[in-house]
């Protein structure tokens, strides 16, 4: 074996111990019952109405959050592209800054802000409006998702748009295109690889999260992530939890395959 190949050994061990073994055991639990016999029961359990409802809500909230992230991130990425070098560095710093803080703490901070006696309601009541019930709503969960995952949308899109050659944009203007045509015909199509990886990096964690829904949903709103988590922790039913996880994996693979079709260049292919 060449020395250069030997450098990959630590990573191979890591992948083996950290990904392949757990994946194999999830597959094993997913297709067996408590007696160790093969069964499809755990997989088909996804079709139970409570699970379908949770899955549907998860998909909906993840889609909404991803869409909101995209709508915020794309203009921001364009602003970054057009700002001068020094300012650009500062803006990226600001975007990454929240990541310096622990994810749980950041989500917890939203509890303090949103709660009935919280900061936002204090402001609302101070100007004479009735206090709003904001905690434990789907809206609070979407807010948490957008807040936590937004940088993962901005950075890949920025990365792509910053590499678009200025001359291409000038050429489009030169050939008679107005501002909107330049965006729809040149900038947007050329940003697709970044948009695809941004969507992937927001949609997948949003689809499977249980922490955000736990903390901002107050346990009252069950996403599919919460159900799987509860099977593992509260109900100690690793078999059902694994089965549902396998179905979620199918959803993730399917969504990535769909996204890939949009990215003709293959720049963001993840599978």
């Amino acid at each position: 074996m060449k020395a250069s190949k030997a450098y990959s050994i630590p990573f191979i061990i890591w992948i083996f111990a950290g990904t392949l073994v757990p994946l194999a055991s999830i597959a094993f639990y997913g297709f067996t019952n408590r007696d160790g016999d093969f069964t499809l029961e755990n997989i088909l359990a996804m079709f139970r109405s409570d699970h379908m409802q949770a899955l549907g809500l998860s998909l909906l909230l993840a889609l909404i959050s991803t869409a909101i992230c995209l709508v915020i991130a794309f203009p921001m990425a364009m602003v970054l592209r057009e700002s001068k070098y020094g300012k650009q560095g500062f803006l990226i710093f600001v975007i990454i800054l929240p990541m310096w803080m622990n994810f749980l703490l950041r989500t917890m901070a939203w509890q303090v802000l949103l709660e009935r006696q919280g900061v936002i309601n204090a402001v609302i009541s101070a100007i004479g409006l009735p206090r709003q019930e904001m905690m434990n709503t789907p809206g609070a969960i979407v807010l948490g998702m957008v807040y936590d995952f937004l940088p993962f949308m901005i950075l890949p899109i920025y990365n792509t748009v910053s590499k678009i050659d200025d001359h291409l944009i000038e050429a489009a203007y030169d050939l008679g295109a107005g501002r909107s045509k330049v965006y729809t015909k040149i900038i947007l199509p050329l940003s697709v690889p970044g948009i695809v990886s941004g969507i992937t990096m927001v949609f997948i964690p949003a689809l499977t999260t249980f922490v955000i829904s736990n903390m901002l949903g107050g346990g009252k709103i069950n996403l599919i992530g919460n159900i799987i988590e509860q099977e593992f922790t509260v109900n100690s039913n690793w078999y059902l939890g694994s089965g549902l996880s396998l179905v979620m994996m199918l959803f993730i693979i399917a969504s990535m395959l769909i996204l890939q079709r949009f990215d003709k260049t293959g720049g963001a292919s993840l599978i």
Partner: protein, 361 residues
């Protein structure tokens, strides 16, 4: 010919760096004008101002007599061939060329025909479905041309379009460009730092340096009568020497008097310090002692058609550059002669000239 584009007193600076220092330029309809100069001379900025990609700090741009200084690029009847071609990588060749037609909203049938015609014009018939990354540099260059001309602009701006091509392809494309220009009957404004390109193709050459136009004229005028040492040096090889008018129509260089055809009437009275340009091919080799001055050949290079020689003059420190079809050996003592009309007398650059008007001979 009617004037199509006029630049008046264009000044442009980026941050504290003045790039254009009051450019006045007139381009006629159907003219092939080349802006020539070293990098950083302001030629690209001038082109970008005409194309509408930069706004001048001062001065106006006129098109057909109409002030277009503040008109955005997409409204100008001017198209550009960019230096790196700037072809849209996510579109195929046909879509690239059709871009301006689709923006204008022409119907697909017309578009198809115009694209095919444009491809035929650049000798790439049937390339519609090719992907941009499948094309060679020369083909990309032609597609960029086709895309820029398909919308029938009045003016085509070309920003060093041949810069990335190898020598042979470049020479081929020079003929192509001249042919295209004839077939289209439109105005070309061409940018290059390559003097050969400029001289071969242009009707008018505009030599620029440090944000000023140094000289404009036909290629012949620029080559034969450079107005200053910069132009002479930039256009072709030359002997650029310091001299002084020793008499009416006589210039003294390195202690030797040379008859020339410029005198007081042309602004070069006796005792004025001047720059002198003598092209290497204008110096004749004659037997030793029979010419105006003598020297010894110190080196010889065969460069294709002719020999290039360095000759150390007998009287002083000047090393002359000569080009000659005959072979002479290194070490040979020769005489040299130059026709009076081949001696170009030029004014010293301004600052030096003021200090040196009166000289005692």
């Amino acid at each position: 010919m009617a004037e199509l584009i006029r630049l008046e007193g264009i000044v442009k600076s980026f941050d504290d760096n003045i790039v254009l220092n009051g450019i006045d330029l007139s381009v006629d309809e159907n003219e092939f004008v080349t802006l020539l100069g070293p990098s950083g001379c302001g030629k690209t900025t001038t082109l970008r101002i005409i194309g509408g990609f930069e706004t001048p700090d001062q001065g106006r741009v006129y098109f057909n007599g109409v002030d277009i200084t503040d008109m955005p690029a997409n409204k100008r009847p001017i198209n550009t061939v960019f230096q790196n071609y700037a072809l849209f990588p996510h579109m195929d060749v046909g879509e690239n060329i059709a871009f301006s037609l689709r923006v204008k909203g022409e119907d697909e049938k017309t578009i198809k025909k115009k694209v095919a015609d444009a491809l035929e014009l650049v000798n790439l018939k049937g390339f519609e479905k090719r992907r941009i990354d499948q094309l060679s540099g020369g083909q990309q260059q032609r597609i960029a041309m086709a895309r820029a001309i398909v919308n029938e602009p009045k003016v085509l701006l070309l920003d060093e379009p041949l810069g990335a091509l190898d020598l042979k392809l470049r020479q081929e494309m020079e003929y192509e460009l001249v042919r295209l220009k004839k077939e289209l009957g439109i105005t070309f404004i061409y940018i290059t730092h390559d003097q050969e390109e400029a001289l071969t193709m242009s009707d008018k050459v505009v030599v620029m340096n440090e944000g000023y136009i140094q000289q404009e004229g036909t290629p012949q005028e620029i080559y034969d009568e450079p107005v200053n040492a910069f132009v002479a040096d930039f256009i072709g090889d030359s002997n650029i020497l310091s001299g002084v008018m020793s008499d009416e129509k006589v210039v003294r260089i390195d202690g030797i008097d040379y008859p020339c055809i410029d005198g007081t009437e042309e602004g070069f009275p006796p005792r004025r310090k001047v720059d002198v340009v003598i092209r290497p091919e204008d110096i004749d080799i004659v037997p030793y002692g029979k010419g105006l001055w003598n020297g010894t050949i110190t080196s010889k290079l065969f460069i294709g058609v002719h020999y290039e020689m360095l000759v150390q003059s007998e009287t002083g420190k000047i090393e002359w550059l000569l080009q000659n079809y005959d072979q002479h050996e290194v070490g040979e003592k020769i005489g040299m002669y130059v026709d009076p009309e081949n001696i170009q007398i030029m004014h010293k650059p301004k600052s030096e000239a003021e200090a040196a008007i009166e000289i005692d001979l």
